[in-house]
């Protein structure tokens, strides 16, 4: 910005920030003494402006936002600094004053729509409670008005329903309705759409945008997705380990990140990476963001056979509906596709699309109702127990939840050794050698062997799970949302590891995910599933460049940051 201050900027200079956080420090008292969750944080939200706080889990982004509404957990306190709301310091305001502010001055939309509505209260009653608490008219018409403003169709009768009758997206709309019911001047939205499907996420965010623009509400958006933050916010604040490392206008931050952490984040965020790949394709240049080896890559031509063929696969579950009666639910309906050796095929779909059921059937943990799964020329449903045991060596899974996929009672050595022991491979010494090699392969120090899963982070556990899957030298690995639960940088690290292992060991991946941005980076082929049916298949390039189905198009448009203009390469200083 130049030294010449024009008239508008002069006017802006006299405008008072709605929320200003100065040198904020937040400490938590734990059994291990005082822990500093946030240090030296500062941010400014002007009236009507949207500011996004971006950071990984544990970076202090939610803690900062909770401090602004005075809802820190009991063992947390503001140790230093100021939180100025419209010029008033509320960092140590009385509970009475905070109650006055909450609702009609500062609203909040929490993260998890499943647990933040009281299940025994009707939706309408929960909205009415908010209106009443802030002294606003709370008749049935007022409640219906608030709900319909949040985009709930048929609000009058919806208000009489209970939370369990609502879908995730509708619950989040109800929470937004509650947050905005009293027309606050500042709305704190803590990962408001993280638990929702991408297409629903987009609708909700669009609607939130529209409402806050109409009401002139300022929004403090907390998110882990830099692409989403840049798309939705005027200003982005990047937090790392309790400190603000960089803040500024969102587009500028994205195009010209200065702090090394922001640079890494920009380089790793899948939504941005997929956007860059798209830009590179259009310009016809190469980009490092592509993790999938190109078609003419390492795989020998003789080995490019179809290792996995899925033919007319169907799975019908019987749902119990009362005594002796049952209704059929078709989870997977007539799905056919094939997977070439040494490539990555992604199955993409939203929750309930049947993608995980397909994975379970390919793993032979669930019997298909009809249809065939042919692995290396053999129908897997015909395997006897001995052949099945051999099949287990060749097809291995990696699961989503890094906290659930390792036995907490086993140390890492026993965890990785288990497949070797089960298949009676080698003696004790050779098994230990193999475990050490595997740990090297997944870039974990060998000293990790003696540790237990609860001592490792999510990404490290996921790498242990990969090592366990690799122990038997399998040919196919089924990754069921294997990176979805990880922080962006860790996710990038694991994806890189998977790509590297693939080119080194000629592995075939079947990658189950809801995240198209990740697909863009890692997959060669894509199968899009909707409600149990396969709606589109093709090479990743084809599907992303010219999607044939409306559903695929909707999914692609829903990737955060799709509208951003980005150069294909990030300059990492």
């Amino acid at each position: 910005m130049s030294a010449s201050v024009d008239f508008q900027e002069a006017e802006y200079a006299t405008e008072r920030p709605l929320l200003e956080i100065r040198n904020l420090a937040i400490g938590f008292t734990t059994s291990n003494g005082e822990v500093n969750a946030v240090r030296n944080a500062h941010l400014t939200v002007m009236p009507g402006e949207t500011v996004a706080i971006v950071g990984e889990s544990g970076s202090g982004k939610s803690t900062t936002a909770l401090a602004a509404i005075g809802l820190l957990p009991g063992n947390g306190r503001v140790a230093a600094g100021q939180i100025l709301f419209d010029g008033e310091d509320i960092s140590n305001a009385s509970e009475k004053r905070m109650i006055e502010l909450r609702g009609n001055s500062i609203g909040m939309v929490p993260q998890d729509p499943m647990s933040n509505l009281n299940p025994v209260w009707k939706i309408g009653d929960q909205v009415r409670e908010t209106l009443k608490a802030n002294g606003l008219p709370s008749g049935p018409d007022d409640v219906a008005k608030v709900l319909s403003q949040a985009g709930l169709p048929d609000a009058g009768s919806r208000a009489k329903q209970y939370p369990h009758e609502f879908s995730g997206g509708m619950r989040q709309r109800a929470l937004i309705a509650i947050g905005l019911a009293c027309q606050p001047r500042l709305l704190i939205a803590d990962e408001p759409t993280s638990a929702l499907d991408v297409t629903v996420q987009r609708q909700i965010l669009d609607h939130l945008d529209k409402m806050t623009t109409e009401l002139g509400t300022a929004v403090l958006l907390i998110t882990h997705d830099l692409g989403l933050a840049a798309e939705r916010a005027d200003q982005v604040v990047v937090m790392y380990r309790g400190q603000v490392v960089e803040s500024g206008p969102s587009l500028e931050l994205l195009q010209n990140p200065q702090h090394p952490y922001t640079q890494r984040l920009v380089a790793s965020a899948p939504s941005l990476a997929s956007r860059r790949i798209q830009a590179a394709k259009e310009l016809g240049v190469e980009t490092d963001d592509m993790l999938a080896p190109s078609e003419t890559g390492v795989v020998e031509p003789s080995k490019t056979d179809e290792v996995l063929q899925i033919q007319n696969l169907r799975k019908v579950f019987k749902l119990r509906s009362g005594l002796g009666k049952s209704t059929d639910f078709t989870a997977v309906d007539d799905v056919s596709f094939s997977v070439k050796r040494g490539t990555t095929t992604a199955i993409v779909g939203e929750s309930g699309s049947g993608k995980s059921t397909v994975a379970q059937m390919v793993l032979n943990l669930l019997a298909p109702t009809s249809g065939k799964i042919i692995f290396d020329g053999v129908d897997t449903s015909t395997l006897n127990s001995k052949d099945l045991f051999a099949f287990r060596r060749r097809v291995q899974p990696i699961f989503q939840d890094p906290y659930g996929s390792l036995d907490p009672m086993y140390n890492i050595f026993r965890t990785i050794e288990e497949p070797l022991r089960t298949h009676k491979i080698g003696d004790k010494a050779s098994r230990e050698k193999k475990v050490r090699e595997l740990l090297d392969q997944v870039a974990l120090p060998q000293s990790t062997m003696q540790r237990y899963p609860n001592e490792l982070s999510g990404g490290q556990r996921q790498r242990v799970a990969i090592a366990r899957a690799l122990a038997l030298d399998p040919e196919v690995i089924i990754c069921d949302e294997a990176v979805s639960a990880l922080d962006v940088l860790v996710q990038a690290q694991v994806l890189n590891l998977l790509a590297e292992l693939q080119s080194r060991l000629v592995l075939t991946y079947l990658f189950i995910t809801h995240d198209l941005a990740v697909v863009r980076q890692i997959a060669d082929h894509v199968c899009v599933m909707e409600k149990g049916k396969l709606v589109e298949t093709g090479s990743t390039d084809d599907v992303f460049e010219s999607p044939q189905q409306d559903y695929t198009r909707a999914l692609l448009n829903a990737i955060p940051g799709a509208g951003l203009m980005l150069p294909p390469e990030v300059e990492v200083a």
Binding site: E246, F389, P408, E418, L456
Partner: protein, 331 residues
């Protein structure tokens, strides 16, 4: 408003005054970048049980109850070390009937002229034996029933759950009175018959806890992972599901060990537990009841011993529950 309009409008909104937002960058030396996802290798590796032990060691509740239990176990193993007097009925002198404390007899005498202190010490063994044996038996039967029902589910679960409910509905005391009156039990009452009766009425509780714990674990990803490695269904139960369900079972078993000791005393007091020839707190309380008004002390001391023992097992269970709480496990 279409999505694309929103984004473009946001960045080039001419209606709003052009606010100048500063581009702030923190000093890198103050916010050093750390290696992504580094393994913390400062602390020594710690298993779940190791961690529980570390927490337990600092808890006064655990220390007190563990010390008390150690004393009780030592007394029951080597009663001779704690009491120089042989309390068998032959050694009782009727001349000492209901006498107060005397030198060498700190707690006085019973109506039969036996030393109360010695009887309390020597009675420990039968109470602790009944408690321990019953707990082991209940763990075996209830554990197997519960694990099978919870793990395999389906009709097996339905059948076992109903059997469980039937036994759960039978009151222990009433059932024991009826069974102990059967000729085969009436004629040869021993520690073993009592243990058998207590197991028959005690297993449903453990079965329920085990079933719940197994159901919680059986669908965990690590069990699915083991199955897809080629581990058999039964192998996965033994190697992964059961070890991970142990914590709540241990807690309940510890607490019920205390209640089984109470049950033994109750049945002995009613005259349908251990035979009078076996020295036990329950029998002593029953015998002392006759002279309760003139000499309450012979009743009071075994009752105190009983309360302290049961209390310490229940306290130990509580301490274990806190230390093994799965919610506290995740870091």
């Amino acid at each position: 408003m279409t999505p694309d309009n929103t984004t473009t409008a946001r960045h080039a909104d001419s209606r709003r005054p052009a606010r100048r937002t500063e581009h702030f960058v923190a000093d890198v030396s103050e916010t050093p970048l750390q290696v992504t996802d580094r393994v913390k290798d400062e602390a020594a590796p710690l298993s779940l049980w190791g961690e529980a032990w570390k927490n337990l060691r600092k808890q006064p509740l655990f220390i007190i109850s563990a010390l008390l239990i150690l004393v009780v176990v030592a007394v029951s193993l080597f009663p001779g070390l704690f009491s120089p007097i042989d309390p068998t009925s032959e050694a009782c002198q009727l001349a000492n009937s209901d006498a107060g404390p005397a030198a060498g007899h700190p707690l006085g005498f019973t109506q039969q002229g036996c030393d109360v202190y010695a009887r309390v010490i020597f009675g420990t063994r039968s109470s602790v034996t009944v408690g321990l044996l019953t707990t082991i038996g209940v763990l075996l039967i209830g554990g197997i029933m519960g694990a099978v029902a919870g793990y395999y589910g389906g009709w097996i679960d339905s059948v076992l759950a109903r059997i469980n409910d039937i036994f759960f509905a039978l009151p222990l005391i009433l059932g024991a009175i009826v069974l102990m009156q059967l000729p085969m039990f009436r004629t040869n009452k021993t520690v073993w018959t009592l243990v058998l009766i207590l197991i028959v009425f005690g297993w449903p509780q453990i079965a329920r806890i085990t079933r719940g714990a197994v159901i919680e674990v059986r669908n965990a990803d690590f069990v699915t992972a083991a199955r897809s490695l080629g581990v058999s269904k039964f192998g996965a139960l033994m190697r992964h599901v059961l070890p991970n369900s142990l914590a709540p079972i241990i807690v309940v078993a510890t607490i019920s060990l205390g209640t089984f000791i109470v049950a033994e005393s109750t049945l002995s007091f009613l005259g349908i537990g251990l035979p009078p020839s076996v020295m036990s707190w329950g029998n002593d309380i029953q015998a002392a009841q006759a002279s309760l008004r003139s000499n309450p002390m012979p009743l009071l001391y075994p009752a105190i011993a009983l309360s302290i023992t049961v209390l310490s097992f229940i306290m130990l269970g509580d301490a274990l529950r806190d230390a093994l709480d799965p919610k506290a496990r995740k870091r």
